[in-house]
Subunit: 228 residues, 2 copies
Amino acid sequence: MAEVRSPDTRERILDAAERLFMAHGYEGTSMRQITGEAGVNLAAVNYHLGSKEALVQEVFRRRLDWLNDERMRVLNAMEAEADGKPLKPSQIVDGFFGTLLRMADDERRGGITFLRLLGRMLTDPSEFIRAFFAHEYSEVIDRYKEALFKALPDVPKAEIVWRFHFMLGATSYAIAGTDALRVVTDWQIEEADATDRLDRLVPRLMSFLLGGLRAPLPQFSDAEAVGK
Amino acid sequence: MAEVRSPDTRERILDAAERLFMAHGYEGTSMRQITGEAGVNLAAVNYHLGSKEALVQEVFRRRLDWLNDERMRVLNAMEAEADGKPLKPSQIVDGFFGTLLRMADDERRGGITFLRLLGRMLTDPSEFIRAFFAHEYSEVIDRYKEALFKALPDVPKAEIVWRFHFMLGATSYAIAGTDALRVVTDWQIEEADATDRLDRLVPRLMSFLLGGLRAPLPQFSDAEAVGK
DNA sequence: GTCTATAGTCTGATAGAC
DNA sequence: GTCTATCAGACTATAGAC
């Protein structure tokens, strides 16, 4: 049985970095802030992680490895159950986005802090960030895309890929939650109490995503597009 | 008649800052990079704009002033036309999101560069950015929210506010476009040619947004929620 | 493994000549 | 208005004592 002990230096650094990168971004967070918040010496980051760039990669890797394994496990289980028949779109959307959102409740997996950090980094177009995500995500995305192609045989594949993309954006903003919502609204809506946030957000978002995924196909003004 | 002249120093700085903030973020871009790209002296930013913080505010202000005026103009025109009757949801969505997306074609208004910058900054939770957007956006958001409340009297207001938020997220990702799309897909889809991007993106996104906006209401597992 | 001390570089901002 | 020169401080990273 593993010895129970308080978080070691390496993990304290990762936790502090996760929180600070979420709040101020990668470039906006210094090693001094990170080590200060973690209560460790400045040199500890370079000793344990190597560099600031290696640190941010490890911050994501320790969470995404679990998330994508879980997404794979869920999809495999659903497909085994379906026995060759296509899955329902709602199952696929829940397997991908629901699994992500439910991380918000799991403090062992970073909780809401990691989800906000992820939503923020997905809009970062820098080559270094993009290459990392492309690598960590490609396998699971391919599997879910294929499942959607099978589930929606009448919808052109390009349309499904775009709608997948739109769903990611809506989810990213949903994660940022009340904070980002306050950017665009005074949010005087009566139910601002904190208790009913997450368990209502998930069904709310799922309805929206499925409505968008199954919307009538767009009519392009360009006539030639019909034959494509 | 105004004299036609090449962009002056101030505008060259704003253009360079817009491009660099889009690519590397606010914290990731130095004054030296900005003045270097603009081909002006380092001291010019402080002389013309005052500080780096004042610079980024002016980068947004010069575009958002036009955008929000235009959104107001379109909404006022549609409501005058409707003569007191509720607008169609598709009209409202097009007035808000369509007006934004069509900026991508207008190089005089910053084009696709500004749109990507905007999408990126909307995920930044820092107080300084949020306060600025809340101020610049509040009036027009309120008017569009009210129009949606009128157009969808059977949908609870809280639901509409959330769906507005989800639509913003989907649009933000749509703007980031092919770049962010490549994060989550190899994008081997055949129609990757650049020519047919924007005029197809708008109907694609509009279908998705309207599908989400008009989706069936979510079922909360919490029974008490029904009476709220 | 953890610390101090510091090297070497880059940052935003400004004073003052022209 | 535009320039050079420079300040004072923050940054990442590392060498070397313990």
